[in-house]
């Protein structure tokens, strides 16, 4: 059987490109003789001429006479087919898939997402311009620190008001994870009952939420939408009259026993009612208790939290105050040039390693970024003019570092929170920051630069988004039956 030569001038196959959709590699006609575009290669010299007749001695099917009407070629190896080994069927590469995982970007969502970056850049610019203003002695350091502290306190108040909401998100995520694991392990242990704990919990949650919203129980209870917090073990503890401080271990397991206990205590449910009925009634009663309990829990939490915040604030404040003289002289002996270079690199590191993507649930994102910025301010602090040699005036060092902690340590947390809470406020904050940075630049460097900054931000937001979308056409993912399959496994244990 001769080797198959489909095209009179064989060519190299160029990899498929999205830019050239006309040369569709999956086109069945392609395999026959469509001349393909050749990427960089010169056309391949004719491949070795195949033998025209075979000299096989064995009586296997290979030398069967060619039938006029051949059976269609099949992509199988176990059947002897009347086709040469290098036959290229029209179905060749028909299972090739391209760019199946690529989702097109939307321009406006890209621009919207870039606001996070713009915010951070603006806050860096604001900080740097305020440093320059201090450096040039156009602004008193103390006033800068005062302004930023006032803003920080205002931000904290807003942030503190939203604490419960945020906590709920965090706890919801944790709970979700734990529940996932729990139901999984249940499934692993007793097979068919695997799904029930999760479903049961979900039902109960919704029931509790309804009764809490419409019921008599709550002054504060209705305020809180249904959520699995605090963990059921604590409710139970409170219902029993104990302090409610029992450890919240394995909520699912507790929860399973929960309806029984509650039924005994409240005696609202009789033994004859079905399990579902008892569940709903207990959920009702539970919601009452829960709302009260939650209320006290929240208040308690709030108080201790505020105390903690105040304590750590004072601690940082006094530590900074005490360290100021040391920090001032720490890099005093380094030349100006080095200081500017170090500060520039540190700010770059801060910008590049900043965690732009995380949400409110992350407690301490991107510590490298924060550390870089604060180090940078420590380095810069030594360049500030010190009035009066003895005793050294350290107010400016203190102010600068305090400002930097506020701008780089606390402000990002607030920005994340604001974005989580309200998109409109987030946009407003972005505009305010950009304009503030522009104002700072205008006042310190020159108004021309301020205009350049604003134009750069707007152009960058639009331009980069457009660029990224434009680059998408070069995307060329190839998938086919040769790809290693991704196993789909229901996790049964961790």
């Amino acid at each position: 059987m001769p080797l198959h030569m489909p095209a009179p001038t064989p060519h190299r196959l160029s990899p498929p490109r999205l830019t050239t959709p006309t040369t569709d590699i999956t086109n069945p006609a392609w395999a026959q003789q469509n001349p393909l575009p050749i990427d960089h290669r010169p056309p391949r010299a004719p491949s070795p001429r195949p033998p025209t007749n075979t000299t096989t001695t064995n009586a296997s099917s290979s030398s069967a006479p060619r039938i006029k009407k051949r059976k269609p070629w099949r992509k199988l190896l176990w059947v002897k087919q009347d086709y040469p080994d290098n036959w290229v069927d029209p179905t060749f590469l028909s299972q090739l898939q391209r760019n199946i995982n690529v989702h097109p970007y939307d321009f406006y969502s890209l621009v919207a997402d870039s606001t996070v970056i713009v915010q951070h850049l603006s806050s860096v610019v604001i900080f740097v311009t305020s440093f320059i203003a201090m450096f040039k002695e156009r602004v008193s350091p103390v006033s800068v620190a005062l302004v930023s502290t006032a803003l920080t306190v205002a931000g904290w108040v807003v942030w503190d008001m939203g604490w419960e909401k945020r906590e709920k998100v965090v706890r919801g995520i944790r709970e979700h994870r734990r529940r996932g694991n729990g139901s999984g392990s249940g499934g692993g242990v007793n097979g068919s009952g695997g799904v029930s704990p999760g479903v049961g919990l979900g039902l109960e949650m919704s029931g509790r939420g309804e009764s809490g919203g419409g019921g008599s129980g709550g002054d504060g209870g209705s305020y809180f939408p249904p959520c699995p917090s605090p963990p059921p073990s604590q409710e139970r503890g409170a219902a029993d009259g104990s302090s409610g401080a029992s450890a919240p271990d394995s909520p699912v397991k507790k929860h399973r026993t929960d309806p029984l206990d509650a039924g005994d205590n409240t005696s609202t449910s009789t033994a004859t009612t079905t399990t579902t009925a008892s569940t709903t009634t207990t959920a009702d009663a539970e919601a009452d208790r829960k709302s009260q309990d939650e209320q006290s829990y929240i208040l308690r939490e709030q108080r201790s939290r505020r105390l903690k915040t105040a304590k750590s604030t004072l601690l940082i404040y006094f530590t900074l105050l005490g360290l100021s003289p040391i920090l001032r002289s720490l890099t005093g002996s380094i030349t100006d040039d080095s200081i500017w270079a170090i500060a520039t690199w540190l700010f770059l590191a801060n910008t590049l390693s900043f965690d732009y993507g995380s949400g409110v649930e992350v407690k301490f994102p991107a510590s490298l970024s924060t550390n870089a910025a604060i180090t940078s301010s420590v380095v810069l602090a030594s360049r500030l003019p010190s009035e009066g040699d003895l005793p050294p005036n350290t107010a400016h060092v203190f102010s600068l570092i305090l400002t930097s902690i506020q701008v780089f340590g606390l402000f990002p947390v607030f920005r994340r929170y604001l974005k989580h809470v309200s998109w409109g406020l987030h946009v407003c904050l972005t505009v305010v920051l950009v304009l503030g940075a522009a104002g700072g630049l205008g006042a310190v460097v020159g108004w021309g630069w301020a205009v350049v900054w604003v134009l750069g931000v707007v152009g960058g937001m639009g331009g980069c988004g457009w660029w990224l979308i434009g680059l998408q056409k070069y995307k060329n993912e190839i998938h086919g039956p040769w790809d290693p399959a991704r196993p789909v496994i229901r996790r049964q244990w961790e």
Binding site: H4, P42, S47, P50, S60, L76, Q492
Partner: protein, 452 residues
């Protein structure tokens, strides 16, 4: 002909090379194998049927692959080629750098080259991109390519940007005599499922770990035999301990290729949860032993066996359990004539057929006209903006080295090795221990021609 991995390391490529070389010898060709030296084996060896193997000392970096040095292999390679009167160099397996180097040098020396690809590669991760570039380099100037399945052919054509008509599909085969069924070995009372595979991620061991407890739960009389070793063995053992299945699942550990048949005949169903597979010789072996095959529908597997011998599953835990349950049911009902599998497989796959088809490829490439250096450089230059220039540089250096070698060690000073006498009495394994290094990796250089 050139090829890649070789004994004493066990594996599919290794046995492919051995069987093909043996059959080609039987058809009157002279075949030698070049590989890298193994710990216990270096120098020149004759296998029992007179097959000559060169174990060349090389530095092994990863999974029996030699360190790619591009040029260092050339002097000894040229010596071997001249000694043995080689005409065609046939490389096997795209992961072997020895094979790539052999093809490059053979082209520099003006020999015919052929390449067999045994594996599938993706296009997404960095390792694949690098491997694909290397493959493109080698295959820019090769006379013909052989793939073991149609899926593998599609993959190779895409990876190396080849003309699909210069790629032939020649499947692997099995020695059916070595995989005869034994109806008495399997248990009559309960169904046994056999799994023989290296326990790696890409062999789907995770699926196996997830599926076995569920299958055992659904079918209380089903037993498992698992043979093979690998990093995922620990997961399997943990699963056994967790679900207390030690008495129903026996793990045999690594099994030698000769013993595979003895393990297989103890079962009724062969389970193969692999995630990627170019051909899956083990499936053919299992079917030849009269086992009903349950396998995932990935890679070239759907091409390998007819549908009455297999139950296909998606690579998902649930579907694998379903497919296995279906297979168990069919076996219980006696609807599968597994006793006929052996004869059917025997008629489907044989190494004689493979050798014949390979021979046809050789005849084809011997007929093509020779390509000059400039033409070769043009081909390499087209490989890419930067890579093309780098490749051209490599080829030019290789050519210069060849000229230098011709000058330093002229052809006339190299002795011609005597061929293995035909039908001679067995002499046994002779080995000349010239090489010191104890490294592994292989290339089988096999030469066809010399029809005596």
């Amino acid at each position: 002909m050139t090829s890649d991995f070789f004994y004493p390391q066990p594996g599919g490529v290794e046995s492919h090379i051995y069987q093909l070389a043996t059959k080609l010898r039987d058809r009157g060709h002279k075949v030698i194998i070049i590989t890298h030296s193994y710990q216990t084996r270096h120098g020149v060896r004759y296998l029992t049927n007179g097959l000559k193997v060169y174990y060349v000392p090389f530095f092994v970096i990863y999974r029996e692959s030699t360190f790619p040095t591009v040029f260092s292999f050339f002097p000894i390679f040229r010596n071997i080629i001249i000694r043995e009167n080689i005409e065609i160099v046939h490389g096997h397996a795209s992961m072997s750098s020895l094979c790539h180097e052999a093809i490059l040098h053979a082209r520099t020396m003006g020999l015919r080259t052929c390449f067999t690809d045994h594996s599938l590669f993706g296009f997404s991760d960095a390792g694949s991109i690098l491997a694909n570039k290397l493959l493109k380099f080698t295959l820019s100037d090769v006379d013909h390519v052989i793939c073991v399945s149609h899926t593998c052919k599609e993959n190779t054509v895409l990876r190396a940007a080849l003309d699909p008509s210069m790629v032939s599909v020649i499947p692997n085969a099995v020695v059916a005599e070595n995989f005869k069924p034994d109806p008495n070995a399997a248990s009559k009372t309960h169904i046994t499922i056999v799994v023989i595979s290296r326990l790696f991620y890409n062999k789907g061991t995770d699926l196996l770990v997830a599926a076995i407890p569920r299958i055992c739960e659904l079918h209380p009389s089903v037993h498992f035999i698992i043979a093979g070793s690998g990093p995922k063995a620990i997961d399997l053992e943990q699963m056994l301990e967790k679900h207390m299945l030690q008495d129903r699942v026996s793990m045999l550990g690594p099994v030698r290729h000769e013993e595979v048949r003895d393990v297989m005949v103890r079962g009724h169903i062969y389970l193969h949860p692999s995630l990627t597979e170019a051909f899956g010789t083990v499936l053919v072996e299992a079917a030849s032993c009269g086992l009903y095959v349950v396998c995932t529908r990935v890679g070239g597997i759907p091409e390998v066996l007819p549908s009455h011998m297999t139950v296909f599953a998606r690579p998902e835990e649930d579907d694998l359990v379903n497919a296995t349950s279906r297979a168990i049911k069919e076996i219980r009902m006696g609807r599968v004539r597994t006793d006929k599998f052996h004869e059917q497989v025997k008629s489907m796959y044989s190494w004689t057929d493979v050798a014949e088809r390979t021979e046809r490829v050789y005849e084809g490439i011997c007929r093509g006209e020779r390509v000059g250096l400039m033409e070769r450089l043009k081909r390499y230059y087209g490989c890419g903006v930067w890579a093309g220039k780098l490749f051209v540089l490599c080829v030019v250096v290789d050519y210069l080295i060849w000229v230098l070698l011709e000058f330093l060690f002229p052809r006339s000073n190299i002795d011609i090795a005597r061929g293995w006498p035909r039908k001679a009495t067995r002499i046994g394994e002779g080995s000349t221990r010239r090489d010191r290094s104890r490294r592994r990796e292989e290339v089988l250089v096999e030469e066809e021609n010399v029809r005596n």
